[in-house]
């Protein structure tokens, strides 16, 4: 089982070159579709392609088998050129049961490859999916798509019939058959998956043997079965040279904190309460105690944020994370950090809402909550990563700004960035800006709210420093002395001071990069996880010769100082968002520009096609 399988290229089957392909694996939530997708992603990374992924799964851990709501899927786009999104329409759909077919078929391009496990299309599963008759028997299906009916279950069982596993255990390996078939169709190397199986099941040789055999059986089936007339190669992408690794957004946020801890030489205290889709960050950080990352699985969201604040008071980097509902609970705590003027980093991994909403689906509707979701005037710095890999830099930047300006910094990631992955060039750690924390130790002239003239930050004093004993708190305080003050003019002064301090962070923002002409007909402004879809749509219009550009905001509060000027260089401004129009409202209010929103709130990433159409429409109305 240790031998590796080289992709066999037989003369009999035609190999066609493709620029890119979009593949989706869909099945029951117990069918192992996420694993299958992840392994296919690794194989594609080995093949040197650029990749974007979209895991999509139900909130229920094990939804009843065969049901429509229990369908779990994993989509990826891989290509020989830059891939910005997981793709809109599918080139290939693998459906492991009738429910998966029903839920996903409409996304398959006409003429697309449709691979189904016929074994699952029995009366029971058809009933559960609401099919009155077997859709595979309908000739229209095979006319519209390149339908490949494969009894994966039977072929799987045949491949491992001599192994001492029970029926259920044997059937459970059928996802590797599907992976084998699709790996053959797209000429993916099997080595990474075989290696993975070897490692993962090192303690259970029989299972390891079964999975490896089934994978190879699927691959061999693709090669030898008469049904597949051709298969495809997607050449390695021309990515900039360097060392790469696959990176998800949640892991990148965690690793960004590790980098910040190392560079600042400070411990991180991370308070969190498990919540989808943020829990992965807590689990990742808990593995890295060597970086002096101290994780607290708190009793609730409020304890998570206040423990982080307590740690910051003690001179550590206090960090907390959640998703929208948890951020709502943390609001009062964040306000405390605003008035106590302590560093605090908050990750909000946005998901569909309101309330519990769509826990496993993505959304961008917490922007207003991030900007204004606290009592009174409580300004915080707000940042947003554009891609999964960008989460690393944004987490690091959040710590840098929080400690330099003594302010909370809120990072808006989302479910799509959190779980999605991309090939990520490994950064040179020395290229990151320093995080140079200077605790105050000088007694002479000390006051708790004395301010740095450039940043307006108050001094950070570690308890334990002799002679600097002082008290801070949530009650309004006099500027400089920090003594409790109910004086009306002082309050007005402090409200302005806290706002001005956050505004000063603008001096940290690099010039905004514009993708396209510096002046023209239309500018698309985006933020967060829509970066890929917007960029792909904009570049398509540019290839058509349209005068369209895009900017993607990573700093949402304060906004980049050059943004107002940039907005005025275009006749129209389009703001696509997965909300009802939040950034567009901010831009209109801030700059008095007639920006137009493009808004879909479906729990899914925006599609390149729909943004493209929105651009065309707005350009059309402009002429």
């Amino acid at each position: 089982m240790s031998e590796t399988v080289a992709p066999v290229r037989t003369a009999a089957k035609q190999l066609r070159e493709l620029d890119r392909a979009v593949v989706r694996f869909a099945g029951d939530s117990g069918d192992g579709m996420q694993l299958t997708g992840e392994q296919f992603t690794t194989e594609s990374a080995w093949a040197g392609n650029d990749i974007a992924t979209l895991p999509n799964f139900p909130a229920e851990i094990r939804a009843p088998a065969g049901t429509l709501f229990g369908v779990s899927s994993f989509q990826l786009q891989f290509g020989s050129q830059r891939v910005y999104t997981p793709g809109d329409r599918l080139d290939c759909l693998v459906a492991m049961n009738p429910a998966a077919l029903k839920v996903h078929l409409s996304d398959l391009k006409p003429g697309g490859l449709l691979v189904v496990n016929t074994n699952a299309f029995d009366k029971r599963n058809l009933d559960k999916a609401g099919y009155p008759s077997n859709p595979l028997d309908d000739p229209a299906l095979a006319e519209r798509y390149r339908l490949h009916k494969v009894d994966m279950t039977a072929l799987t069982l045949e491949a491992i019939k001599d192994l001492s596993l029970n029926q259920k255990e044997k059937e459970r390996t059928k996802n590797f058959f599907a992976l084998g078939v699709v790996s053959w169709i797209y000429t993916r190397p099997l080595e990474p998956t075989l290696e993975w199986i070897k490692k993962k099941f090192a303690k259970n040789q029989v299972i390891a043997e079964a999975n490896a055999r089934v994978l190879k059986a699927g691959h061999a089936f693709g090669e030898t079965a008469e049904i597949f007339a051709e298969h495809y190669a997607v050449e390695a992408a021309e990515l900039p040279p360097g060392l790469y690794r696959a990176m998800t957004g949640n892991r990148a946020l965690a690793w960004g904190l590790l980098a910040a801890a190392q560079r600042s030489k400070l411990p991180v205290v991370y308070g969190a309460y498990p919540i989808t889709p943020a829990s992965g960050i807590l689990e990742e950080l808990a593995m890295h105690k060597r970086f002096r990352i101290r994780t607290i699985q708190a009793e609730d969201e409020i304890a998570a944020v206040t423990a982080a604040i307590g740690a910051s008071f003690g001179g550590a980097i206090g960090v907390t994370a959640s998703s929208g509902p948890g951020i709502a609970l943390k609001g009062e705590g964040i306000g405390l950090a605003v008035t106590a003027e302590l560093p605090l980093v908050i990750f909000d991994i946005q998901r569909g809402g309101p309330s519990t909403g769509l826990p496993t689906k993505t959304e961008q509707a917490d922007l207003m909550q991030a900007l204004y979701g606290r009592n009174s005037e409580s300004p915080v710095v707000v940042l947003a990563p554009a891609t999964p890999g960008d989460c690393f830099y944004i987490a690091y930047e959040a710590v840098r700004i929080a400690t330099k300006y003594m302010t909370p910094v809120l990072v808006l990631s989302d479910g799509f960035l959190a779980n999605g992955s991309e090939p990520w060039p490994v950064p040179d750690i020395n290229s990151l800006p320093p995080i140079d924390v200077q605790f105050r130790t000088e007694k002479e002239g000390f006051f708790p709210y004395l301010r740095d003239p450039a940043t307006l930050a108050r001094p950070w004093v570690r308890p334990g420093t002799p002679g600097l004993e002082h008290r801070i708190g949530g009650i309004e305080k006099q500027d400089v002395t920090g003594n409790i003050s109910y004086d009306p003019d002082n309050h007005d002064h402090m409200v302005r001071m806290r706002a001005e301090k956050v505004r000063r962070v603008a001096q940290e923002i690099p010039p905004t990069s514009i993708n396209g002409p510096a002046t023209g007909d239309l500018l698309v402004v985006g933020w967060g996880g829509t970066y890929g879809a917007i960029t792909a749509a904009v570049e398509r219009t540019q290839l058509e010769g349209q005068s369209v550009a895009s900017v993607h905001l990573r700093y949402l509060n304060p906004l980049p100082p050059d943004l107002g000027h940039i907005l005025r260089e275009y006749r129209k401004v389009l703001v696509p968002e997965i909300n009802s129009g939040q950034l567009v409202r901010v831009l209109r209010a801030e700059y008095l520009v007639d920006a137009v929103g493009f808004n879909r709130v479906r729990g899914l990433p925006l599609a390149t096609d729909e943004i493209y159409e929105a651009i065309k429409q707005l350009l059309g109305s402009a002429s």
């Binding site: 040197g48 360097g242 696959a246 690793w255 190392q262 009793e299 409020i302 982080a308 334990g464 008290r471």
Partner: protein, 342 residues
């Protein structure tokens, strides 16, 4: 195990004055908090800890103004959250001595959840809960320790809530140190403060405190001379549970598993209930005793050793570093599945 906050051997000699801040104390005249503040300031020099290593954390309420009046490090946070703030501070700073000052509303109502978890985790903190059975700062609504039927501004026909017993709650949460003292018994209060401050783990000290404006003499059973003599049960390690006037000494004994009051003279010495702080089950029975059926226990109900939260976590960190070296992000970034593009 190390005592948190222990400073250099040549700890400076302090007096009470060193711990008085320059802020005007703003409690109502006659408030029990004054006596507690004075006792705490007086106790501090005896801890032998440099004052820059002492931190007071509080939530919201009259009691929570406490840190402003202590010339140490202090943080007046938000309602109910002081135990959580202190937990984060403790993980960041195992070297500090941390006090949490809270009240019956702050600690047992809005912050009840945090109190539960800080006690079960056994984080090294000294928690002082001022219990006056009323909401003072919001001007006189009933609190979670107010008696059933209590008539207040928010319960004109009497409260329908049954009160929580702070000591029984703390013991139920798995607290490793549980004690009770009274604001008008300065000597006992100082003694209890020292005991609590020296405990390794979470110490929970209930201080019965008088709100002379909204709930005057709620603890009169322990204030008024006659009733104090009649009802106060001083708990002392290794001593039998005896109380009452010297000429009419009474004893609390165990009748099966049920506490019972008898005349001390009527039972042999072997039948007396001898107080043992290590016996948490006995402490749970003691916590429920109250006048007039029973005496009111004051003193240390329970003091036991148990694993300490931050010691476990920081030990994991230390071991991870000693076994595999300090973390190196550059190494981590290039570890595992990577590939090179030429």
């Amino acid at each position: 195990m190390s005592v948190s906050g222990a400073g250099p051997a040549e700890a400076r000699r302090y007096t009470k004055k060193d711990f008085e801040s320059d802020q005007d104390v703003r409690w109502c005249p006659g408030c029990g908090d004054y006596a507690i503040l004075s006792a705490v300031q007086k106790t501090m020099p005896d801890l032998g800890i440099p004052k820059e290593n002492i931190v007071f954390i509080s939530g919201i309420g009259c009691s929570s103004r406490f840190p402003y009046y202590m010339n140490t490090y202090g943080f007046h946070t938000i309602h109910g959250r002081a135990p959580a703030v202190a937990t984060g501070l403790r993980l960041a700073r195992p070297d500090l001595k941390i006090f949490v000052v809270t009240g019956d509303g702050d600690g047992l109502s809005i912050g009840g959840n945090h109190m539960l978890h800080v006690l079960r985790r056994n984080v090294s903190l000294t928690i002082l809960l001022f219990n006056n059975r009323i909401y003072g700062l919001t001007k006189g609504q009933y609190s979670p320790t107010s008696e059933l039927g209590k008539v207040t501004k928010s319960t004109p026909l009497g409260s329908a809530d049954r009160p929580v017993n702070p000591l029984a709650f703390a013991l139920g949460c798995g607290a490793t140190f549980v004690g009770r003292t009274v604001d008008r018994d300065v000597k006992h209060m100082e003694e209890m403060l020292k005991r609590a401050a020296h405990h390794n783990g979470t110490a929970f000290l209930e201080i019965l405190q008088n709100c002379n404006v909204y709930n005057d003499l709620a603890w009169n059973a322990l204030y008024e001379k006659e009733s104090k003599l009649q009802y106060e049960l001083r708990l002392e390690q290794g001593k039998p549970l005896l109380f009452g006037a010297l000429d009419d000494r009474k004893a609390v004994i165990m009748d099966g598993v049920i506490p019972k009051v008898v005349s001390a003279a009527s039972v042999p010495a072997s039948a007396l209930w001898v107080h043992d702080e290590k016996n948490v089950n006995a402490a749970k029975l003691l916590a429920d005793l109250w006048a007039p059926e029973f005496p009111i226990p004051v003193g240390v109900l329970a003091a036991v050793e148990a694993p300490v939260y931050e010691e476990i976590l920081l030990d994991q960190e230390k071991r991870a570093v000693s076994e595999r070296g300090a973390g190196d992000i550059a190494k981590l970034l290039t570890s595992g599945d990577t590939w090179k593009i030429e």
